[in-house]
Symmetry: D2
Subunit: 340 residues, 4 copies
């Protein structure tokens, strides 16, 4: 079976595993108070250009989103997000569980815009309504689209104007930076807080949360602990992040995944397969004619995105840091046979 199901199907990149094995028997204090965690946080502060940023390491994306939002907002404050956003459709109501409404905005390409934010804030906001306070974006989005630097800057200006915090879920931040030409410092400058995703880019597990905005920092570790989000052997996260961040591996892994997706998308285009959204990063959403998805499923692992009219099916291919180029070729060959 060819594997294009997701980018968290394998374990860790060998360099990450090596770092874990190399430090395995060291004895350190727990809960992220060790030197490895401190070092990784320092590396991240340097990369982001926010010397006093608070940096925390969490275990997964839902956990990071949920803990951050619960810590940042007062009880009646709400979140604005694209309706396709991860917190809207893939987190089982995690944000609402902590008491906060998530207002789902229609964004066909999965991206928030100043216009969408302004429109959401155009109605009355008062003591009878929820009070939107945080704009949630994911980069890359759940449709594989990507924010550019000017888009991030425009969002931040709009958020400042509307009294909103800008929060970026960077579960696939490496892929977003590679595809969109942004760098860590852009997120440090544009976002009040954001995550750097490890799980989908070479780590066993781990998301780094960067809190650039000073007002959002107090009490965060208390919130982490209360949410069950503080790893006992915290250094495991520091060791892994340091392994991918200190010398650029994080970006080269993402670049590999993106390159394979780009080749795959180009091949699909040659075959005349329509895509649900432009293939900007490491997720590709081809729309297959009736019966094709089922047939393909016998040789390839992928996920079904949704049924469409005319019996067509939109499926999702995901490439990863470990996707062999020859698997892309093999997939394209299969597709060509299938669609003949």
């Amino acid at each position: 079976m060819l594997y294009f199901r997701n980018d968290y199907g394998a374990g860790a990149h060998p360099a990450v595993l090596e770092a874990l094995c190399g430090t395995n028997m060291e004895l350190t204090p727990g809960y992220g108070t060790d030197q490895y965690t401190r070092q990784a946080a320092e590396t991240i502060r340097d990369l982001c250009g926010v010397p006093d940023a608070a940096v925390h390491f969490l275990m997964g994306g839902t956990q990071a989103n949920k803990t951050a939002i619960a810590a940042f907002l007062r009880p009646y404050e709400a979140v604005l997000a694209a309706a396709s956003g991860h917190i809207c459709v893939h987190e089982a109501g995690a944000v609402e569980q902590d008491g906060h409404a998530v207002l789902r905005l229609p964004a066909p390409d999965g991206k928030l815009t100043p216009e969408l934010l302004r429109s959401a804030m155009a109605g009355p906001v008062n003591e009878h309504t929820v009070v939107p306070r945080l704009a949630y974006i994911s980069n890359t989005t759940e449709l594989g689209t990507v924010y550019t630097r000017p888009e991030l800057l425009a969002l931040r200006r709009c958020c400042d104007e509307l009294g909103l915090y800008l929060y970026c879920d960077g579960a696939r931040l490496g892929s977003a930076m590679d595809a969109g030409g942004t760098g860590f410092a852009d997120y440090g400058a544009c976002c009040h807080a954001f995550t750097i995703g490890g799980t989908k880019n070479g780590l066993l597990l781990g998301e780094a949360l960067v809190i650039a905005e000073p007002a959002l920092r107090p009490g965060f570790r208390n919130c982490m602990k209360q949410q069950g989000a503080m790893l006992a052997k915290g250094r495991l996260l520091g060791v892994q992040f340091e392994a991918v961040l200190r010398d650029g591996l994080y970006l080269s892994l993402a670049a590999h995944a993106n390159a394979q997706a780009k080749r795959l998308a180009a091949g699909l285009e040659r075959l005349g397969v329509p895509l649900l959204a432009p293939a900007e990063s490491n997720q590709v959403f081809p729309i297959l004619p009736e019966g094709a998805a089922e047939a393909l499923g016998r040789s390839v692992e992928f996920e079904v995105e949704r049924g469409m009219d005319g019996g067509r099916t939109c499926i999702r291919f995901v490439t990863a840091w470990h996707t062999p180029p020859e698997d892309v070729d093999a997939l394209l060959a299969l597709m060509e046979d299938l669609l003949k």
Copy 2:
């Protein structure tokens, strides 16, 4: 000033006040364990045709909605509602505060339909998504529209099919019954639970919650108490509901309000004033040309619903059990002058 601001501007109907005064110095047990509360619950069970329904008396609409939903759902279960629904826009995120997502569905007339429900349930529902479990409707809706009996029956059938509870927020149930030709028994038969609103139809305060579905009854009083929703002098609610329900006053008060709204809407039609939604119950939403709302505001109390294109403003007139017919005439005369 003419008063068309809302239907909770005055105190209680004289018969309600008389019942309160007449029982004022009686000494009863607290928290709704008295005979007046029991009697009112029995009256409601009779009217609704659900002999074993659980009936609880709460202090306000937001409280009733919030307490019911928190008691009925498991942590990951969610609510489907029209985007204009009271829980979506007038309750400050009360339902989300207790941990439940509210999915806002587009319903231009404020009414849920089987099609809307089916469409909301068409996507994947699994352990990564919220699990919709309760369909929230309000009758009358926030736009003054009304559900008919066939519509309620169709919703219930659809809910049964989709594994949803049907919950009706009846803050203006009297008005809805008068306008839509439904009776208490229709709600007993179609809804798993619903409220009978007192605040907007002659009581000082109070909403009766009827839980027809046996599975939703256990532990409700614990939830009420935990939510701060159990009135110490609980009998005040029983006394008031009994005063309006035992002999039909509840419906005749609503009929009066509806009749005045109908006269008002007819007059506005004669004047050529467009309405945002059909004037089916005791709320009328005229769309005024630029400047008119401001001028009118010097002589009439009303609320602004929203700004519209071309400088126009949609405002809301509400009639109530106590609206003098001559005030409707006076308002129409003012409007005629204004729009000349």
Copy 3:
């Protein structure tokens, strides 16, 4: 039956009812934005000597406690309270429902002391523990005991030293002031926030929350609405509080209740009946020999506090603003017969 069950068994004092009836047909804006509510808030600010205090009117004691604490604390912050405190044993976990731990401290007389607070804060407080931030006291306590002015001052000094807010649940504040020689201004000076209870001292319903501490004021009405704690016909609370506060009725009603309790306690002492706690206010806790409570229950309404050793039973007598002195005499006569 003689009625000594509680102090919320009757409706409202006639002067309160008269005020409600006299304003019943006036038409005002809702949710406490009317002039009556403003006037009552102003009266309270004057009485308390905190010219810029935020004053809010809520419907009940559990609701007031729960809403205040949820609004005041961050997610991981906790409450310190006497184990007998209302939030510990009579509110069905309302404070915890909003996410905050309540640490129950052993206080045989129901009163917090600086020593208890210091002892509770003596252990480690860090990111692995809850962080106590608010000391909850009730005055009068659930055992009928009362704080004096020096005690309140000492608690406040201790709270300032420990970084705690001092919050006083004043469900029976009138009784506490009469019994303890304190005045409204003492609470304004000593407490960061406190309530003035109406339900148990002459109102149909209503608790006024006074927020003296500026840092605790922002967003409170949003929290109220979200908790279902904002009364639509808000003026009902303002009208009632103004009726009892503007000319001292509040205190004279409480003084009457206390006086009857004092007579009752003196009579019980003459009869040799031991009390669970000193009878300082309007609650008296006699300990009856085996069988006596049951016999008494045939002629008197009261509540059982708890079973005690030797088959004895501690019961609770409560006097109120409406307790006829002759009922106290009659009760004492019954007790004398019973214990002969």
Copy 4:
């Protein structure tokens, strides 16, 4: 420095690391739907003797406790726990964050008993109180004490009688089984649900939750996801648990830790050092004279449990699967020097 700080200072046992490395590049479906996770669950069901038990793998102890309790209880239901229990003092109010009160019972040795449970349930339980529904025990306890099989059986009988669920936090279950002579099947038989701790006994991270009681199983994975407790690369937990459970490594690692603690305790006894609690498992709590803890801290890593009278300090030594026997000897030699 000698390391006796905790049992989560190192990474994973080599056999665990080898299993992770050996499967690292395999591509599996996410979120615990892979064959490794299924196999580990099956192994656990066999060990516990509950063929239909639900088995879930979570990332940490606080997360497991919090998610389980939130999933198991209705909003007003509460937890009974020893005041020293992990959820009471080391989890930052995680259980309360989800809305549930934790009633802290005085248990000097950290163990709940039927008497404690009965005493906690002796008072009134009604709609005004919280309703205790779950008894939380930890085995080993936070004081290193251990439950025997008869004690577990007696607790279960008592819980059945009182309408409580018995939940065991087994963060150190291996140590508890080795020390107390219990086996997995005892927990399967006595507990409605319990965890098998991996973090403190050889895994990088991971706690297995076993839900023996059928009524507690529905919807659990939805709750996990909502709590951010579902690991994307779920198989990492399955692989690790299988590595330690399939052939008894789990118990032999715990036995090693216990044996070193026993030698340490025996040595301390010889030196006349008093202990806070009997040294039954892998935690030892010596009470040191004034100044000794500080001096010792220059050569040994440990945690301070608490200050005691007379300037004494109670500290905690923890042994682990990797503690070299010679480190115990070296520590005892240091202590002997220190206390001379």
